[in-house]
Protein backbone atom coordinates (compact mmCIF):
# COMPACT_ATOMS: atom_id res chain seq x y z
CA UNK A 1 0.00 0.00 0.00
CA UNK A 2 1.29 3.44 -0.92
CA UNK A 3 1.63 6.03 1.81
CA UNK A 4 0.63 8.77 -0.59
CA UNK A 5 -1.31 8.47 -3.82
CA UNK A 6 -2.38 11.15 -6.25
CA UNK A 7 -4.69 9.60 -8.80
CA UNK A 8 -5.20 11.82 -11.85
CA UNK A 9 -5.64 14.92 -9.69
CA UNK A 10 -6.50 18.21 -11.33
CA UNK A 11 -7.07 21.48 -9.52
CA UNK A 12 -8.56 24.44 -11.32
CA UNK A 13 -8.91 27.79 -9.53
CA UNK A 14 -11.48 30.46 -10.29
CA UNK A 15 -15.06 29.90 -11.34
CA UNK A 16 -15.27 32.46 -14.15
CA UNK A 17 -13.71 31.21 -17.41
CA UNK A 18 -11.62 34.40 -17.71
CA UNK A 19 -10.17 33.94 -14.22
CA UNK A 20 -9.62 30.19 -14.44
CA UNK A 21 -6.15 28.86 -13.83
CA UNK A 22 -4.95 25.29 -13.73
CA UNK A 23 -2.80 24.89 -10.62
CA UNK A 24 -2.30 21.12 -10.96
CA UNK A 25 -3.06 19.10 -14.06
CA UNK A 26 -3.66 15.32 -14.07
CA UNK A 27 -1.16 14.57 -11.32
CA UNK A 28 -0.63 10.85 -10.78
CA UNK A 29 2.02 9.89 -8.28
CA UNK A 30 2.54 7.13 -5.73
CA UNK A 31 4.96 7.32 -2.80
CA UNK A 32 5.56 3.96 -1.08
CA UNK A 33 6.04 3.50 2.65
CA UNK A 34 9.47 4.44 3.96
CA UNK A 35 10.46 6.59 1.01
CA UNK A 36 11.82 10.12 1.17
CA UNK A 37 10.30 11.87 -1.82
CA UNK A 38 11.37 15.32 -2.98
CA UNK A 39 8.77 17.31 -4.87
CA UNK A 40 10.78 19.79 -6.89
CA UNK A 41 9.88 22.71 -9.03
CA UNK A 42 10.05 26.48 -9.33
CA UNK A 43 7.79 28.82 -7.37
CA UNK A 44 4.19 28.57 -8.55
CA UNK A 45 4.72 25.12 -10.05
CA UNK A 46 1.86 23.51 -8.11
CA UNK A 47 3.81 22.01 -5.19
CA UNK A 48 1.94 23.74 -2.38
CA UNK A 49 -1.42 23.18 -4.11
CA UNK A 50 -0.70 19.45 -4.27
CA UNK A 51 0.29 19.42 -0.59
CA UNK A 52 -2.86 21.31 0.41
CA UNK A 53 -4.93 18.75 -1.49
CA UNK A 54 -3.18 16.02 0.54
CA UNK A 55 -4.09 17.81 3.76
CA UNK A 56 -7.70 18.32 2.56
CA UNK A 57 -7.31 22.09 2.90
CA UNK A 58 -8.40 22.44 -0.72
CA UNK A 59 -10.35 19.96 -2.82
CA UNK A 60 -9.34 18.53 -6.20
CA UNK A 61 -11.49 19.56 -9.16
CA UNK A 62 -11.16 16.00 -10.42
CA UNK A 63 -9.26 12.86 -9.44
CA UNK A 64 -8.61 11.64 -5.91
CA UNK A 65 -5.86 11.75 -3.31
CA UNK A 66 -5.25 9.02 -0.74
CA UNK A 67 -3.02 8.80 2.30
CA UNK A 68 -2.30 5.43 3.88
CA UNK A 69 -4.98 3.97 1.63
CA UNK A 70 -7.75 6.27 2.86
CA UNK A 71 -9.29 9.31 1.16
CA UNK A 72 -7.75 12.54 2.43
CA UNK A 73 -11.24 13.86 3.25
CA UNK A 74 -11.34 11.32 6.11
CA UNK A 75 -9.85 13.41 8.93
CA UNK A 76 -9.06 10.30 10.99
CA UNK A 77 -6.17 9.53 8.63
CA UNK A 78 -4.37 12.61 9.93
CA UNK A 79 -3.81 10.84 13.26
CA UNK A 80 -0.86 9.27 11.44
CA UNK A 81 0.18 12.31 9.43
CA UNK A 82 2.46 15.21 10.36
CA UNK A 83 2.49 18.47 8.42
CA UNK A 84 4.81 21.45 8.45
CA UNK A 85 3.73 24.40 6.27
CA UNK A 86 6.20 26.75 4.58
CA UNK A 87 5.55 29.60 7.01
CA UNK A 88 4.02 28.16 10.16
CA UNK A 89 1.71 30.68 11.79
CA UNK A 90 0.81 29.91 15.35
CA UNK A 91 -1.31 31.37 18.09
CA UNK A 92 0.89 34.16 19.44
CA UNK A 93 0.05 33.69 23.09
CA UNK A 94 0.48 29.92 23.30
CA UNK A 95 3.66 28.21 24.44
CA UNK A 96 5.40 25.28 22.68
CA UNK A 97 4.18 22.98 25.46
CA UNK A 98 0.56 24.01 24.91
CA UNK A 99 0.94 23.69 21.16
CA UNK A 100 2.19 20.13 21.52
CA UNK A 101 -0.57 19.34 23.99
CA UNK A 102 -3.09 20.42 21.33
CA UNK A 103 -1.38 18.35 18.62
CA UNK A 104 -1.24 15.26 20.81
CA UNK A 105 -4.72 15.65 22.19
CA UNK A 106 -6.32 15.88 18.73
CA UNK A 107 -4.36 12.79 17.70
CA UNK A 108 -5.93 10.73 20.47
CA UNK A 109 -2.83 10.55 22.69
CA UNK A 110 -3.06 10.26 26.46
CA UNK A 111 -1.91 13.14 28.66
CA UNK A 112 1.08 11.13 29.92
CA UNK A 113 2.09 10.05 26.43
CA UNK A 114 1.91 13.65 25.20
CA UNK A 115 4.06 14.81 28.10
CA UNK A 116 6.74 12.20 27.44
CA UNK A 117 6.80 12.66 23.68
CA UNK A 118 6.72 16.49 23.95
CA UNK A 119 9.74 16.46 26.28
CA UNK A 120 11.72 14.34 23.80
CA UNK A 121 10.73 16.43 20.80
CA UNK A 122 11.42 19.78 22.47
CA UNK A 123 14.83 18.41 23.33
CA UNK A 124 15.34 17.27 19.74
CA UNK A 125 14.53 20.70 18.31
CA UNK A 126 16.40 22.48 21.10
CA UNK A 127 13.41 24.34 22.56
CA UNK A 128 13.36 22.80 26.04
CA UNK A 129 14.61 25.96 27.72
CA UNK A 130 11.84 28.05 26.12
CA UNK A 131 9.03 25.52 26.35
CA UNK A 132 6.92 27.87 28.49
CA UNK A 133 7.67 31.03 26.55
CA UNK A 134 5.00 32.50 24.29
CA UNK A 135 5.44 31.84 20.60
CA UNK A 136 5.10 35.52 19.71
CA UNK A 137 8.60 36.07 21.10
CA UNK A 138 10.13 33.38 18.84
CA UNK A 139 12.37 33.98 15.81
CA UNK A 140 11.49 32.43 12.44
CA UNK A 141 13.93 29.58 13.00
CA UNK A 142 12.49 28.84 16.44
CA UNK A 143 8.93 28.88 15.03
CA UNK A 144 10.00 26.44 12.34
CA UNK A 145 11.48 24.15 15.01
CA UNK A 146 8.30 24.40 17.06
CA UNK A 147 6.48 23.46 13.85
CA UNK A 148 8.67 20.39 13.45
CA UNK A 149 7.85 19.28 17.01
CA UNK A 150 4.15 19.90 16.33
CA UNK A 151 4.27 17.86 13.12
CA UNK A 152 5.94 14.93 14.90
CA UNK A 153 4.07 14.91 18.23
CA UNK A 154 1.75 12.11 17.09
CA UNK A 155 4.67 9.96 15.86
CA UNK A 156 3.25 10.08 12.32
CA UNK A 157 3.75 7.46 9.61
CA UNK A 158 3.74 10.10 6.89
CA UNK A 159 5.37 13.51 7.23
CA UNK A 160 4.54 16.22 4.71
CA UNK A 161 6.89 19.21 4.68
CA UNK A 162 6.23 22.24 2.50
CA UNK A 163 9.53 23.99 1.69
CA UNK A 164 11.08 22.97 5.02
CA UNK A 165 14.44 24.63 4.31
CA UNK A 166 13.04 27.92 3.10
CA UNK A 167 14.24 30.90 5.12
CA UNK A 168 16.39 28.88 7.51
CA UNK A 169 19.98 29.67 8.39
CA UNK A 170 22.66 27.03 7.66
CA UNK A 171 22.30 25.58 11.16
CA UNK A 172 18.56 25.31 10.79
CA UNK A 173 18.95 23.61 7.42
CA UNK A 174 21.35 21.11 8.88
CA UNK A 175 18.93 20.36 11.69
CA UNK A 176 16.14 19.82 9.18
CA UNK A 177 18.29 17.61 6.96
CA UNK A 178 19.39 15.53 9.97
CA UNK A 179 15.78 15.18 11.01
CA UNK A 180 14.69 13.94 7.58
CA UNK A 181 17.52 11.38 7.63
CA UNK A 182 16.46 10.26 11.09
CA UNK A 183 12.84 9.89 9.98
CA UNK A 184 13.99 7.80 7.04
CA UNK A 185 15.98 5.55 9.39
CA UNK A 186 12.82 5.10 11.45
CA UNK A 187 11.01 3.90 8.32
CA UNK A 188 8.75 6.92 7.98
CA UNK A 189 7.52 8.26 4.68
CA UNK A 190 8.62 11.83 4.05
CA UNK A 191 7.12 13.92 1.27
CA UNK A 192 8.66 17.34 0.96
CA UNK A 193 8.62 20.14 -1.54
CA UNK A 194 11.52 22.41 -2.30
CA UNK A 195 12.78 24.86 -4.84
CA UNK A 196 16.23 24.95 -3.23
CA UNK A 197 17.60 21.92 -5.04
CA UNK A 198 20.94 21.81 -3.29
CA UNK A 199 19.15 20.96 -0.05
CA UNK A 200 17.49 17.84 -1.39
CA UNK A 201 20.45 16.22 -3.12
CA UNK A 202 21.53 14.03 -0.24
CA UNK A 203 18.11 13.38 1.24
CA UNK A 204 15.71 11.98 -1.34
CA UNK A 205 15.26 8.44 -2.58
CA UNK A 206 13.23 9.74 -5.49
CA UNK A 207 12.27 13.12 -6.80
CA UNK A 208 9.35 14.37 -8.84
CA UNK A 209 9.76 17.44 -11.01
CA UNK A 210 6.69 19.60 -11.41
CA UNK A 211 6.32 22.79 -13.43
CA UNK A 212 3.29 24.77 -14.53
CA UNK A 213 1.08 22.27 -12.72
CA UNK A 214 2.31 19.23 -14.65
CA UNK A 215 4.47 16.46 -13.27
CA UNK A 216 7.38 16.25 -15.70
CA UNK A 217 9.39 13.37 -14.36
CA UNK A 218 9.72 11.02 -11.41
CA UNK A 219 13.09 9.33 -10.98
CA UNK A 220 15.65 8.17 -8.47
CA UNK A 221 18.00 11.03 -7.75
CA UNK A 222 21.04 8.98 -8.80
CA UNK A 223 19.43 8.15 -12.17
CA UNK A 224 18.55 11.75 -12.73
CA UNK A 225 22.07 12.98 -12.01
CA UNK A 226 23.87 10.12 -13.76
CA UNK A 227 22.45 10.92 -17.16
CA UNK A 228 24.83 12.33 -19.68
CA UNK A 229 27.99 13.00 -17.71
CA UNK A 230 29.37 16.28 -18.96
CA UNK A 231 32.97 15.01 -18.77
CA UNK A 232 35.58 14.47 -16.11
CA UNK A 233 37.56 16.48 -13.61
CA UNK A 234 41.18 15.43 -13.10
CA UNK A 235 43.07 16.87 -10.13
CA UNK A 236 46.83 17.04 -10.71
CA UNK A 237 49.70 18.19 -8.48
CA UNK A 238 51.18 20.49 -11.12
CA UNK A 239 50.89 24.18 -11.89
CA UNK A 240 48.53 25.20 -14.75
CA UNK A 241 51.41 26.63 -16.77
CA UNK A 242 53.21 23.24 -16.83
CA UNK A 243 50.05 21.42 -17.80
CA UNK A 244 49.14 23.88 -20.53
CA UNK A 245 52.24 22.99 -22.49
CA UNK A 246 51.74 19.25 -21.96
CA UNK A 247 48.07 19.23 -22.95
CA UNK A 248 48.15 22.01 -25.55
CA UNK A 249 46.42 19.94 -28.27
CA UNK A 250 43.42 19.08 -26.03
CA UNK A 251 42.57 22.64 -24.90
CA UNK A 252 40.88 21.63 -21.62
CA UNK A 253 39.64 24.06 -18.88
CA UNK A 254 42.03 24.66 -16.01
CA UNK A 255 41.46 26.03 -12.53
CA UNK A 256 43.99 26.31 -9.71
CA UNK A 257 42.91 24.84 -6.34
CA UNK A 258 45.73 25.60 -3.90
CA UNK A 259 48.65 23.30 -4.77
CA UNK A 260 46.43 21.35 -7.23
CA UNK A 261 45.13 22.10 -10.65
CA UNK A 262 41.74 20.86 -11.80
CA UNK A 263 41.46 19.96 -15.44
CA UNK A 264 38.04 19.51 -16.97
CA UNK A 265 38.03 17.34 -20.06
CA UNK A 266 35.22 16.04 -22.26
CA UNK A 267 34.30 12.33 -22.08
CA UNK A 268 35.96 11.51 -25.45
CA UNK A 269 39.37 12.98 -24.45
CA UNK A 270 39.65 11.32 -21.01
CA UNK A 271 41.73 8.32 -22.12
CA UNK A 272 44.21 10.34 -24.17
CA UNK A 273 44.63 13.04 -21.50
CA UNK A 274 45.25 10.39 -18.82
CA UNK A 275 47.80 8.74 -21.07
CA UNK A 276 49.57 12.06 -21.67
CA UNK A 277 49.61 12.91 -17.96
CA UNK A 278 50.94 9.42 -17.14
CA UNK A 279 53.74 9.65 -19.67
CA UNK A 280 54.76 13.09 -18.42
CA UNK A 281 54.97 11.82 -14.83
CA UNK A 282 52.26 14.18 -13.52
CA UNK A 283 50.94 13.19 -10.12
CA UNK A 284 47.20 12.53 -10.53
CA UNK A 285 45.28 13.00 -7.28
CA UNK A 286 41.74 12.18 -8.37
CA UNK A 287 39.53 11.61 -11.39
CA UNK A 288 35.82 12.35 -10.92
CA UNK A 289 32.90 12.50 -13.33
CA UNK A 290 31.64 15.99 -14.04
CA UNK A 291 27.92 15.61 -13.34
CA UNK A 292 25.27 18.16 -14.12
CA UNK A 293 23.90 19.88 -11.00
CA UNK A 294 20.38 19.12 -9.91
CA UNK A 295 19.41 22.64 -10.93
CA UNK A 296 20.64 21.96 -14.47
CA UNK A 297 18.81 18.63 -14.63
CA UNK A 298 15.54 20.08 -13.38
CA UNK A 299 15.78 23.02 -15.74
CA UNK A 300 16.54 20.71 -18.66
CA UNK A 301 13.59 18.43 -17.81
CA UNK A 302 11.25 21.39 -17.67
CA UNK A 303 12.55 22.85 -20.93
CA UNK A 304 12.42 19.48 -22.70
CA UNK A 305 8.87 18.67 -21.63
CA UNK A 306 7.76 22.23 -22.42
CA UNK A 307 9.23 21.71 -25.90
CA UNK A 308 7.45 18.37 -26.32
CA UNK A 309 4.13 19.85 -25.31
CA UNK A 310 4.63 22.94 -27.44
Amino acid sequence: MESILFDDVTKVYGGHPAARGVAVERLSLAVPKGEVFGFLGPNGAGKSTSIKILLNLIFPTSGRALMLGRPVADEAVRKWVGYLPENPNWYDYLTPEELLWYGGSTSGMSRLHIKERAAGLLDLVDLTSVRRRRLKTFSKGMLQRAGVAFALINDPEVIVLDEPMSGLDPLGRKLMADLIRRLKEEGKTVFFSSHILHDVEDLCDRVGIIAKGRLRRVARLSDLLAVRSKGWTISVKDAPQVLRSRLADFEPDYSARGSFTEIRVPEKDLGKVMERLGSSQSEIVSVTPLRPTLEEVVLREIQQTDGNVG
Binding site: L55, L57, E75, D92, Y93, L94, W101, Y102
Partner: protein, 269 residues
Protein backbone atom coordinates in the same frame (compact mmCIF):
# COMPACT_ATOMS: atom_id res chain seq x y z
CA UNK B 1 -15.86 15.78 21.83
CA UNK B 2 -12.19 15.59 22.72
CA UNK B 3 -11.19 17.60 19.67
CA UNK B 4 -13.83 20.23 20.39
CA UNK B 5 -12.50 20.46 23.95
CA UNK B 6 -8.89 20.81 22.76
CA UNK B 7 -9.73 23.61 20.31
CA UNK B 8 -11.93 25.32 22.91
CA UNK B 9 -9.07 25.20 25.40
CA UNK B 10 -6.46 26.78 23.12
CA UNK B 11 -8.98 29.41 22.00
CA UNK B 12 -9.75 30.23 25.62
CA UNK B 13 -6.04 30.46 26.54
CA UNK B 14 -5.30 32.61 23.53
CA UNK B 15 -8.17 34.98 24.30
CA UNK B 16 -7.45 35.20 28.00
CA UNK B 17 -3.86 36.25 27.35
CA UNK B 18 -4.56 38.89 24.74
CA UNK B 19 -3.80 42.49 25.59
CA UNK B 20 -7.26 43.58 24.52
CA UNK B 21 -8.80 41.47 27.27
CA UNK B 22 -6.73 43.14 29.96
CA UNK B 23 -7.08 46.63 28.49
CA UNK B 24 -10.87 46.35 28.50
CA UNK B 25 -10.90 45.12 32.06
CA UNK B 26 -8.86 48.10 33.20
CA UNK B 27 -11.30 50.43 31.41
CA UNK B 28 -14.24 48.55 32.98
CA UNK B 29 -12.74 48.91 36.47
CA UNK B 30 -12.32 52.66 35.96
CA UNK B 31 -15.89 52.94 34.68
CA UNK B 32 -17.31 50.98 37.62
CA UNK B 33 -15.35 53.03 40.11
CA UNK B 34 -17.05 56.13 38.64
CA UNK B 35 -20.54 54.67 39.20
CA UNK B 36 -20.82 56.03 42.74
CA UNK B 37 -19.98 59.62 41.79
CA UNK B 38 -22.09 59.62 38.63
CA UNK B 39 -25.12 58.12 40.40
CA UNK B 40 -25.21 61.00 42.88
CA UNK B 41 -25.52 63.47 40.02
CA UNK B 42 -29.13 62.25 39.87
CA UNK B 43 -30.17 62.37 43.57
CA UNK B 44 -33.78 61.25 43.03
CA UNK B 45 -32.83 58.09 41.15
CA UNK B 46 -29.48 57.10 42.62
CA UNK B 47 -30.11 53.33 42.57
CA UNK B 48 -31.78 53.36 39.16
CA UNK B 49 -28.86 55.29 37.65
CA UNK B 50 -26.31 53.06 39.40
CA UNK B 51 -27.97 49.89 37.99
CA UNK B 52 -28.31 51.47 34.55
CA UNK B 53 -24.68 52.58 34.53
CA UNK B 54 -23.18 49.34 35.78
CA UNK B 55 -25.26 47.12 33.48
CA UNK B 56 -24.66 49.50 30.56
CA UNK B 57 -20.90 49.37 31.18
CA UNK B 58 -20.98 45.55 31.37
CA UNK B 59 -22.94 45.40 28.13
CA UNK B 60 -20.71 47.88 26.29
CA UNK B 61 -17.38 46.39 27.42
CA UNK B 62 -18.74 42.91 26.71
CA UNK B 63 -19.81 44.02 23.25
CA UNK B 64 -16.40 45.51 22.40
CA UNK B 65 -14.70 42.40 23.77
CA UNK B 66 -16.95 40.09 21.74
CA UNK B 67 -16.67 42.01 18.49
CA UNK B 68 -12.92 42.55 18.57
CA UNK B 69 -11.75 39.39 20.30
CA UNK B 70 -14.27 37.28 18.39
CA UNK B 71 -13.20 38.51 14.97
CA UNK B 72 -9.55 38.54 16.02
CA UNK B 73 -9.57 34.96 17.25
CA UNK B 74 -11.49 33.53 14.31
CA UNK B 75 -10.85 35.69 11.26
CA UNK B 76 -7.13 35.87 12.10
CA UNK B 77 -7.03 32.07 11.94
CA UNK B 78 -8.10 32.38 8.34
CA UNK B 79 -6.10 35.49 7.49
CA UNK B 80 -2.83 34.22 9.00
CA UNK B 81 -3.62 30.67 7.91
CA UNK B 82 -3.25 29.33 11.41
CA UNK B 83 -6.22 27.18 10.47
CA UNK B 84 -3.84 25.08 8.33
CA UNK B 85 -2.09 23.97 11.51
CA UNK B 86 -5.32 23.28 13.36
CA UNK B 87 -6.87 21.27 10.53
CA UNK B 88 -3.60 19.42 9.84
CA UNK B 89 -4.44 17.23 12.82
CA UNK B 90 -7.33 14.76 12.95
CA UNK B 91 -9.93 17.48 13.35
CA UNK B 92 -13.07 17.90 11.24
CA UNK B 93 -14.24 21.31 10.06
CA UNK B 94 -17.37 21.07 12.25
CA UNK B 95 -15.23 20.24 15.29
CA UNK B 96 -13.11 23.28 14.51
CA UNK B 97 -16.16 25.58 14.37
CA UNK B 98 -17.73 24.09 17.49
CA UNK B 99 -14.43 24.10 19.40
CA UNK B 100 -13.67 27.67 18.49
CA UNK B 101 -17.22 28.72 19.36
CA UNK B 102 -17.08 26.91 22.71
CA UNK B 103 -13.75 28.56 23.57
CA UNK B 104 -15.04 32.01 22.71
CA UNK B 105 -18.30 31.42 24.56
CA UNK B 106 -16.31 30.41 27.63
CA UNK B 107 -14.39 33.66 27.29
CA UNK B 108 -17.67 35.58 27.13
CA UNK B 109 -19.09 33.74 30.15
CA UNK B 110 -15.95 34.44 32.21
CA UNK B 111 -15.92 38.06 31.08
CA UNK B 112 -19.57 38.65 31.95
CA UNK B 113 -19.13 36.92 35.32
CA UNK B 114 -16.12 39.13 36.08
CA UNK B 115 -17.64 42.33 34.71
CA UNK B 116 -20.96 41.47 36.36
CA UNK B 117 -19.14 40.91 39.63
CA UNK B 118 -17.58 44.38 39.42
CA UNK B 119 -20.95 45.85 38.37
CA UNK B 120 -22.68 44.17 41.31
CA UNK B 121 -19.98 45.41 43.70
CA UNK B 122 -20.29 48.98 42.40
CA UNK B 123 -24.10 48.90 42.63
CA UNK B 124 -24.05 47.21 46.05
CA UNK B 125 -21.71 49.95 47.37
CA UNK B 126 -24.10 52.64 46.14
CA UNK B 127 -27.07 50.72 47.59
CA UNK B 128 -25.40 50.35 51.02
CA UNK B 129 -24.51 54.01 51.23
CA UNK B 130 -27.93 55.22 50.12
CA UNK B 131 -31.22 55.23 52.04
CA UNK B 132 -34.19 53.37 50.55
CA UNK B 133 -35.83 56.70 49.77
CA UNK B 134 -33.48 56.99 46.77
CA UNK B 135 -34.60 53.71 45.24
CA UNK B 136 -34.58 49.97 45.92
CA UNK B 137 -32.20 47.44 44.46
CA UNK B 138 -33.76 44.45 42.61
CA UNK B 139 -31.07 41.79 42.63
CA UNK B 140 -32.95 39.00 40.77
CA UNK B 141 -33.63 41.39 37.88
CA UNK B 142 -30.00 42.52 37.99
CA UNK B 143 -28.83 38.90 37.63
CA UNK B 144 -31.43 38.26 34.90
CA UNK B 145 -30.16 41.26 32.97
CA UNK B 146 -26.55 40.10 33.28
CA UNK B 147 -27.51 36.60 32.10
CA UNK B 148 -29.29 37.91 29.02
CA UNK B 149 -26.35 40.22 28.22
CA UNK B 150 -24.25 37.05 28.24
CA UNK B 151 -26.70 35.26 25.92
CA UNK B 152 -26.74 38.24 23.56
CA UNK B 153 -22.95 38.31 23.38
CA UNK B 154 -22.80 34.56 22.68
CA UNK B 155 -25.39 35.07 19.94
CA UNK B 156 -23.16 37.80 18.48
CA UNK B 157 -20.22 35.36 18.51
CA UNK B 158 -22.30 32.97 16.42
CA UNK B 159 -22.97 35.80 13.94
CA UNK B 160 -19.24 36.55 13.74
CA UNK B 161 -18.73 32.85 12.96
CA UNK B 162 -21.43 32.93 10.32
CA UNK B 163 -19.85 35.88 8.50
CA UNK B 164 -16.31 34.62 8.95
CA UNK B 165 -17.29 31.34 7.30
CA UNK B 166 -17.58 33.04 3.91
CA UNK B 167 -15.69 36.35 4.12
CA UNK B 168 -11.93 36.28 4.54
CA UNK B 169 -11.35 39.78 5.89
CA UNK B 170 -11.35 40.48 9.63
CA UNK B 171 -12.68 44.00 9.09
CA UNK B 172 -15.53 42.86 6.86
CA UNK B 173 -16.65 40.25 9.42
CA UNK B 174 -16.42 42.90 12.16
CA UNK B 175 -18.33 45.47 10.09
CA UNK B 176 -21.12 43.07 9.09
CA UNK B 177 -21.57 41.85 12.68
CA UNK B 178 -21.70 45.45 13.93
CA UNK B 179 -24.42 46.24 11.36
CA UNK B 180 -26.40 43.17 12.47
CA UNK B 181 -26.02 44.31 16.09
CA UNK B 182 -27.36 47.78 15.32
CA UNK B 183 -30.29 46.42 13.30
CA UNK B 184 -30.98 43.79 15.97
CA UNK B 185 -31.17 46.44 18.67
CA UNK B 186 -33.75 48.54 16.85
CA UNK B 187 -35.70 46.36 14.45
CA UNK B 188 -38.38 45.37 16.98
CA UNK B 189 -38.97 48.97 18.01
CA UNK B 190 -39.15 50.08 14.38
CA UNK B 191 -41.62 47.33 13.45
CA UNK B 192 -43.84 48.18 16.43
CA UNK B 193 -43.72 51.86 15.56
CA UNK B 194 -44.67 51.24 11.94
CA UNK B 195 -47.46 48.77 12.69
CA UNK B 196 -48.94 50.39 15.78
CA UNK B 197 -47.64 53.84 16.49
CA UNK B 198 -47.40 55.36 13.04
CA UNK B 199 -51.04 56.36 12.71
CA UNK B 200 -51.36 59.40 10.54
CA UNK B 201 -48.00 58.69 8.90
CA UNK B 202 -47.96 57.49 5.31
CA UNK B 203 -45.83 54.31 5.49
CA UNK B 204 -44.97 52.67 2.22
CA UNK B 205 -46.22 49.04 2.17
CA UNK B 206 -42.91 48.01 0.59
CA UNK B 207 -40.97 49.59 3.45
CA UNK B 208 -43.23 47.91 5.98
CA UNK B 209 -42.64 44.58 4.24
CA UNK B 210 -38.85 45.14 4.30
CA UNK B 211 -38.93 45.93 8.02
CA UNK B 212 -41.10 42.87 8.71
CA UNK B 213 -38.72 40.60 6.78
CA UNK B 214 -35.76 42.18 8.61
CA UNK B 215 -37.54 41.55 11.91
CA UNK B 216 -37.66 37.83 11.17
CA UNK B 217 -34.19 37.55 9.63
CA UNK B 218 -32.10 39.67 11.97
CA UNK B 219 -31.77 38.71 15.63
CA UNK B 220 -34.13 40.59 17.89
CA UNK B 221 -31.54 41.68 20.43
CA UNK B 222 -34.01 43.98 22.20
CA UNK B 223 -35.78 40.82 23.41
CA UNK B 224 -32.62 40.06 25.40
CA UNK B 225 -32.34 43.48 27.00
CA UNK B 226 -33.67 43.64 30.56
CA UNK B 227 -31.60 46.60 31.76
CA UNK B 228 -34.59 48.93 32.01
CA UNK B 229 -36.61 46.36 33.97
CA UNK B 230 -33.67 45.85 36.35
CA UNK B 231 -33.23 49.59 36.89
CA UNK B 232 -36.91 50.32 37.42
CA UNK B 233 -37.80 47.10 39.20
CA UNK B 234 -40.43 46.18 36.58
CA UNK B 235 -41.98 42.72 36.72
CA UNK B 236 -40.81 40.28 34.06
CA UNK B 237 -43.00 37.23 33.46
CA UNK B 238 -41.39 33.77 33.43
CA UNK B 239 -42.74 33.21 29.90
CA UNK B 240 -40.88 36.32 28.68
CA UNK B 241 -37.66 34.99 30.20
CA UNK B 242 -38.17 31.50 28.74
CA UNK B 243 -38.97 32.99 25.32
CA UNK B 244 -35.82 35.18 25.42
CA UNK B 245 -33.56 32.29 26.45
CA UNK B 246 -34.98 29.84 23.89
CA UNK B 247 -34.89 32.48 21.16
CA UNK B 248 -31.21 33.26 21.82
CA UNK B 249 -30.26 29.58 21.96
CA UNK B 250 -32.14 28.71 18.77
CA UNK B 251 -30.76 31.66 16.81
CA UNK B 252 -27.23 30.85 18.00
CA UNK B 253 -27.64 27.18 17.05
CA UNK B 254 -28.88 28.11 13.56
CA UNK B 255 -25.96 30.52 12.99
CA UNK B 256 -23.36 28.01 14.19
CA UNK B 257 -24.86 25.18 12.14
CA UNK B 258 -24.82 27.41 9.05
CA UNK B 259 -21.19 28.38 9.76
CA UNK B 260 -20.20 24.71 10.19
CA UNK B 261 -22.02 23.79 6.97
CA UNK B 262 -20.20 26.51 5.00
CA UNK B 263 -16.84 25.64 6.60
CA UNK B 264 -17.25 22.01 5.47
CA UNK B 265 -17.37 23.21 1.89
CA UNK B 266 -14.82 25.98 2.12
CA UNK B 267 -11.27 25.76 0.81
CA UNK B 268 -8.27 27.18 2.67
CA UNK B 269 -5.66 27.90 0.00
Amino acid sequence: MRNIGAIAKITFWEGLRSRLFFALFVIALLAFSGTYTLSYLFPRDVIKVAVDLSLGTTSLIGLILTLFLGTQLLAKDLEKRTIHMVLAKAVSRSEYVLGKFTGLSLMIICSVVLLGGFAALATWTVDRLTSDAYGVMHWPLFVLSLSTIMLMLILLVSIIFFFSSFVSSTFLALGLTSVVYLIGQSVEELKEFLTQGAEGLAVSPVFLKVVTVAYYIFPNLAALDFKTQAAHGLVVSPSTIIYAVLYAMLYTAIMISAAAWIFQRREFP
